[in-house]
Amino acid sequence: MVTRVPPRSSRPRRRMRVLLASGAAALALAAGSVVPGNPLTPAPPQAQAADSGRTTLTVAVAQSVDSLSPFLAQRLVSTSVYRLMYDYLTNYDPKDNHAIPGLATKWEPSADKLTWTYTIRSDSKWSDGHQATAEDAAWTFNKMMTDEGAATANGNFVANFEKVTAPSADKLVIQLKQPQATMAALDVPIVPKHVWEKVSDFSKFNNDTEFPIVGNGPFILTDYKVDSYVKLKANKDFWRGSPKFDEIVFRYYKDQDAAVAALRKGEVSFVAGSPSLTPAQSASLKNAPDIKVNDAPGRRFYALAVNPGARTKDGEKFGDGHPALLDQKVRQALFMAVDRATIIDKVFQGHAVEGEGYIPPRFSDYFWKPAADQELAYDPAKAASTLDEAGYKKNSDGKRVGKDGKPLDFRILCHATDPNDKAVGKYLQEWWGDLGVGLKVDCIDNVSDPWYAGEYDLAFDGWSVNPDPDFVMSIHTCAALPSKPKESAATDNFICDKQFDELYKKQNVEYDTGKRAALVKQMESRLYDTGYMNVMAYPNAVEAYRTDQIESITTMPSDAGNIYGQDGYWSWWSAVPADAASAGSDDSGGSSTGVLVGVGVAVVVLAGGGLLFAMRRRSTAEDRE
């Protein structure tokens, strides 16, 4: 007879359960309470380092550093870091972006406009004690001019240089092939010759193995761990004055929501987005205690670009842009049917400014807006009559058709990764649909292939604008067109307009700031009238920081501007740590929580241990039986 043995196995099971539970609880909680400087408080002040009283400003970043070599790095995070590590010849005034002294105290052109002489300051030292001289600057530029590897990141700045010399320690002379007005906007970090001349292959040297890295900027890079952190300490000998924080740490948060959580907790002092915090993130942070949301006018524009008929420098046509868009009236009619106020309100949820000219208003010297009689304001009726005039009348189905009887149907390239593109695309379909114009929204991950192949009718376009507008203007000149069909080129969307080119040439050799600005505005006006580029919005830069860690910080422009990714080191150099007193009160809360949790851990461990011991006794007793 088979007799089922009654289950007697509850002891080992229970033992395992208790062991696992107590072990897990103890490990998790112990790790939480034991790790030095590891906060249990919801909002620990990181501005004050617990061990030595040093003040640390922690910035959440998402982008990986591509290289710490300023000759190679292309990404914003890397350029932001070496802005802090190295001084440039000139800097930009945080108030209005005009050029101010950096490593050079003054600069002037020769009468023939081809030779620029810079006076190098005598109070800038490398962090290893050597004097920073004109020889370092000359060596940096010469290296970029002669070594293809060293020209990777900033080669465009020296493309027009004929010769660079340093006749004395405080004189740098740059001779140009052609006059150029951007000589006070050479955004090139000057590196110490005595360190960098030992580098053999500039295309592979990443400057990330020996710390601290020798520099002469407001901060010295002391440590770097891939995708974990970049640490910099204040350069107490910096000629403009030492930064107020002792240390700045760029810490990695690959997920933006996690970065926002870290700000809430106080693990980081500052969070920017990529490029902005989302409306939902900014709304959730707005009412959080000790957090300030900086909703600043941005440096980007968001535009509609029209394919003007892709072509090479030699005039060879390629691509398949819609021929109707070669008609200026059609382009202007389409733009008059765009309700920009609704886009700002519904798509950007108020975090943008309605677009007009090509350069955002924060660059006040070059900001241009159309006159009343020139403006293409939202006017669907006028848009309809303009299309009638252009010969595209509505048929019985309500569709606009050309003289050939074909309906007006366009394609627009949209970035699948940008929710704004998708949302605006839907509005355009509705508005242009009312006008009788069809629109297919092609949202794809990578728009650059059809774009460079000229296989599009319209596209969502956007650029970050520098204080000097030369670059964003240059991408619409005929010289920027590709040499061969579909080849990579500097052009943005194949615009080639003689009138625009003539203005570009004039501004490029105009050394008088006021006259140059007037020329740039004329270029913007011409760009607006041709209708190939229509700016819909200037998205804001939305970012946030902890007021219990940062008392004050300089925005750029200083009246109302952004903090992360400035042209210069103003934000981090100027940041003032919050009063230690407020930090102290949070600390005490953290300690009491820590003690409570510590007691809890001890109770759990003791109870678990006691239980295990008792069960072990019982088990061995039974086995003896």
Binding site: V5, M16, A28, Q74, N156
Partner: protein
């Protein structure tokens, strides 16, 4: 492998000697007996699997080259997008990356180098791809290895327990919870854990860091504790999502064993129910679970991409994401190869070990 060393391998691992006597009589001139013959069969089986794995690895190598070239997007355009670059700089970068060469030439160079372990230089990081992978691999292995051990132990243990008491409240609760967690997106669970256990809600204090692998200001034993502290939430997330598979396989295979005569015999001998389960039922039910665990071990490495991203873990997952966004072709290709190789190697290992656990396989 010599024939002298293999019997120990078979004997040590199989533990079911009776299976050998069930085999057909030795054929041909061989006078080595059943054990030697079965060793030879096993070696043939292993060799077949190894050849299959090598072919698969080569297929992956070739696929990885062409697959990522189908992705639209020119790496140079993507890397220089939005920056001030001249046409000359763009051309120089294309030359440097070898993108100006015909595709067939790029392919032969890639294969030639890859076979010697050289996967080229990353476009965006300007560093050897092998170096970038070596930097990120330990973090991934630490995270996924810890999670693997935990979800294996929990899954096997709970699966056996659920099956042994199938239909009970505990069984239903375990299964329902496991299935629920299995269906939860890992990044969402991770974010929930960050909000509750890291930032803290109401009476729950913020106990764990919101991301990263270390604080960056510790050394020695403090560093170990610091990393352990950072690991808690990502490991919990991975374990919560992954343990269900092991639990369900273990549960169903143990259920299959439950009515077997040998269990009845064991009970008839007067063995405690607990011993019947642990010493007789579970070892036999482990076979499908072992296969699953090896497959899991291979896929977990790649499967941690989302969790690594949410918790900003500096491992291969984050690296793959960055590489894809360019696309950084040498890095993407190498990572794809590593992920696929992990699955192939683990599958092959499972295939190789399985006959040792169950001699009926591979005969």
């Amino acid at each position: 492998m010599s024939t002298e060393s293999t019997p120990a391998l078979v004997k040590g691992a199989a533990g079911v000697d009776s299976a050998e006597s069930d085999g057909p009589a030795p054929a041909g001139p061989s006078a080595r007996g059943p054990r030697s013959r079965s060793t030879a069969a096993y070696l043939r089986y292993v060799a077949g699997k190894l050849v299959g794995a090598a072919v698969s690895l080569f297929a992956v190598l070739v696929t990885s080259f062409f697959l990522f070239r189908l992705i639209p997007g020119d790496p140079v355009k993507q890397m220089t997008g939005g920056r001030q670059v001249s046409t000359e700089q763009i051309a120089a970068m294309r030359r440097e990356f070898g993108l100006d060469l015909p595709l067939w030439q790029q392919f032969t160079e890639y294969c030639g180098k890859a076979l010697t372990g050289d996967f080229g230089t990353s476009y965006q990081f300007r560093a050897p791809v092998i170096d970038k992978i070596s930097e990120a691999l330990p973090a991934t292995l630490l995270l996924t290895g810890t999670a693997f051990v935990l979800y294996t132990v929990i899954g096997v243990w709970l699966g056996a327990r659920s099956a042994w008491r199938s239909g009970s409240v505990g069984d239903r609760a375990h299964t329902a919870l496991a299935l629920t967690l299995y269906s939860v997106p890992s990044f969402w669970l991770g974010l929930l854990l960050i909000i509750t256990l890291s930032v803290g809600i109401g009476p729950i204090p913020g106990l764990f860091p919101t991301g990263g692998m270390e604080s960056g200001n510790t050394s020695g034993f403090d560093y170990v504790l610091d990393v352990a502290h950072h690991m808690v939430l990502p490991v919990i997330t991975l374990v919560a999502v992954e343990y269900a598979r092991t639990l369900l396989v273990m549960r169903s295979s143990l259920l299959d064993e439950m009515g077997s005569d040998y269990l009845t015999t064991a009970r008839a001998k007067g063995l405690r129910d607990d011993l019947v389960r642990r010493r007789h039922a579970v070892p036999n039910a482990m076979l499908p679970t072992v296969t699953l665990l090896f497959v899991n071990l291979g896929t977990t490495v790649a499967g941690a991409i989302l969790v690594e991203t949410v918790f900003s873990w500096p491992g291969l997952g984050g690296l793959f994401y960055q590489a894809l966004s360019v696309p950084d072709l040498p890095l993407v290709q190498a990572l794809f190869f590593v992920f696929a190789a992990a699955v192939i190697i683990m599958n092959t290992l499972a295939d190789v070990i399985y006959p040792l656990l169950d001699p009926r396989v591979g005969r």
